[in-house]
């Protein structure tokens, strides 16, 4: 048997930190970073006598996340304590939601390409629950100790639990990418993999093509990049197929992905027979959501990717181009803002998808912290469209804007790229060129139109910055015809 004799069955638990100012159960800052243990208080460090106080926005964001993923919202959700001992969890229980989570079933459509073929599918969401993040352990091999930094303890997190609906690494990767985009658009998470603000637990099992039941699954914890999710699943499929081929049985266990080796390994720390002894947290009065609250939150949801795509296509932008814009929230936001300054979508899209995307891909622009403003980009594109600068010069000007920002008009002026339409000067130069090139003019008049280019070149050289090639061409043709 080979890998192709099995159908992989994949489910994900996607954890995404919410973009609140303060933590979910205390008033410490939830911002990423900070010196070790400087964003902690008696509450999030689990000191005796302290109590959780729920952050209103964390609840609202979880609901927004639910709406973004097509979920039904639970009007009465219950926070439970999940009890286990681990040094990154100072209370020795995590406040989470087991039986009555805040969001119920939902669905996320995905589109992807496999073997050059366009495919689409809908992945069902089982539920989303709100919980608190744990701290960070720094391992000190030299002294044989681990150091606990609780800055991340209590940062609000949504856990999105999917049904086991995915059948390939590509589907799983696409789902995470799609969900990240939806959460970004909803404005509830920045989904930065490198800061751990989105990560996934991956459940993989294999079933034979003729089987009717799922096989035993392995859970790979805390996979933290799109690439790793893909590789983890690829590796697990191979590993489990080999076991099954040998007539062995896959063990239900928790594993860890080693990105350096590209392998998964059983986790030692999770060997403990665990029983989380969930029970409703007696420190928290459960929150009731009313229809009007839900309507308000739903209405506050910004335009989502689907709506933006439709809008852009309505502008006459081809689907492929529109998708490039929509698929990066920051780019789409830039485009939207540009539109408020210069209402020429097609032209803006050409510039953004061409020049800006090129420089982003080259790593010259950090789209999270661009040095240019949308207003300046819009102005530059408008200048180019209205022949105040040439297309080529526009790119040059943008290079400088990308580097250090600045007003495109000022940059153009400083570099002698600004075109001032001076018709008198154009006619003057044409007269002179015609007078100086009698031979060429005669050739043209006798029907040798090839020399037009030469004459045009002579004019352009003299007229740089004073007129656009189009104006020069028109005027030169007019003059030659009149001779």
């Amino acid at each position: 048997m080979s890998v192709s004799d099995y159908i992989p069955v994949i489910g994900l638990e996607i954890h995404s930190e919410l973009l609140t100012n303060s933590k979910v159960f205390c008033t410490c800052s939830a911002e990423f970073g900070g010196e070790k243990n400087t964003r902690c208080c008696p509450v999030c460090s689990g000191m005796p006598g302290t109590l959780p106080i729920i952050n209103q926005r964390a609840v609202e964001y979880a609901i927004k996340a639910g709406y973004a993923l097509g979920c039904e919202i639970n009007k009465f959700s219950v926070w439970d304590r999940k009890n286990y001992f681990y040094p990154d969890l100072p209370k020795a229980y995590q406040i989470s939601e087991l039986n009555l989570p805040i969001c119920l079933a939902g669905a996320v459509p995905i589109e992807y390409e496999e073997n050059g073929e366009k495919k689409s599918k809908t992945i069902r969401i089982n539920h989303i629950h709100l919980e608190e993040d744990a701290g960070k352990l720094i391992h000190d091999d030299l002294n044989g100790v681990s150091l606990c930094d609780y800055n991340r303890c209590g940062v609000p997190l949504v856990e999105i639990v999917t049904e086991p609906d995915m059948r390939s690494p590509e589907e799983a990767r696409t789902l995470v990418e799609t969900i990240a985009l939806l959460l970004q658009y909803a404005g509830v998470s920045d989904c930065k993999m490198e800061e751990g603000s989105i990560r996934a637990d991956v459940n993989v099992s294999l079933m034979r093509k003729d089987a009717t039941e799922f096989g035993t699954r392995a859970e790979i914890k805390n996979v933290n990049s799109l690439k790793s999710i893909y590789r983890t699943i690829e590796y697990e499929i191979k590993r489990q197929a080999q076991i099954l081929d040998r007539g062995g049985e896959v063990i239900q266990e928790t594993r860890r992905f080693d990105a350096n080796k590209g392998e998964t390994k059983a986790m030692r720390s999770k060997e403990d027979a665990h029983d989380y002894k969930y029970f409703p947290d007696p420190d928290i009065k459960q929150v009731n959501l009313r229809d009007e609250d839900l309507e308000r939150i739903k209405a506050s949801l910004p335009e989502m990717p689907k709506q933006r795509l439709a809008k852009y296509m309505g502008f006459g932008i081809p689907e492929k181009e529109a998708k490039v814009i929509v698929n990066t929230k920051k780019i789409s936001d830039l485009f939207e803002e540009c539109l408020t300054h210069y209402n020429n979508p097609k032209s803006l899209v050409n510039f953004i998808n061409g020049e800006i995307m090129r420089r982003i891909n080259l790593g010259e622009i950090d789209i999270d912290k661009p040095s240019f403003t949308a207003a300046d980009v819009a102005k530059l594109v408008e200048m180019s469209d209205t022949d105040k600068v040439t297309k080529n010069d526009a790119k040059e000007i943008f290079r400088e804007m990308a580097e250090k920002g600045g007003d495109p008009e000022a940059i153009a002026k400083a570099n002698g790229m600004l075109i001032v339409s001076d018709t008198g000067r154009v006619l003057e130069v044409i007269e002179q060129v015609i007078a100086n090139n009698e031979k060429a003019v005669n050739q043209y008049k006798s029907g040798d139109v090839k020399v037009f280019g030469f004459l045009m070149g002579q004019c352009s050289k003299e007229l740089r910055g004073a007129a656009t090639p189009k104006v020069i061409k028109e005027e030169l043709e007019k003059k030659l015809r009149s001779l």
Partner: protein, 92 residues
């Protein structure tokens, strides 16, 4: 209550007992469970919806970050190093 059960509960609770203590714990727990078992036969279930304290979204804490505790105060009751709590090296 069986010895194995007490051992299992001790493991869950991160407690250890000497053999002698275990024997006493089995005795005590057996006696305590006798009281607890009085509720075993009654037909009653918990209804979370009844425990509704009429708390609504607007009653919750507004999302404002406030200053945290000074790190030295946070660590004042702990073995610490480099502004962190210290545990024996954890193997994942």
């Amino acid at each position: 209550m069986e010895l194995d059960m007490v051992k299992y509960l001790a493991k869950l609770a991160k407690l250890e007992f000497t053999d002698e203590e275990l024997e006493q714990a089995v005795k005590d727990m057996t006696s305590i469970i006798e009281i607890m078992d009085t509720i075993k036969d009654i037909d009653i279930t918990y209804d979370p919806y009844k425990d509704n304290h009429n708390v609504y979204l607007e009653d919750l804490r507004p999302d404002e970050a406030m200053p945290s505790l000074a790190t030295d105060k946070l660590l004042q009751n702990a073995v610490n190093q480099e502004n962190c709590f210290v545990v024996p090296k954890v193997v994942e």
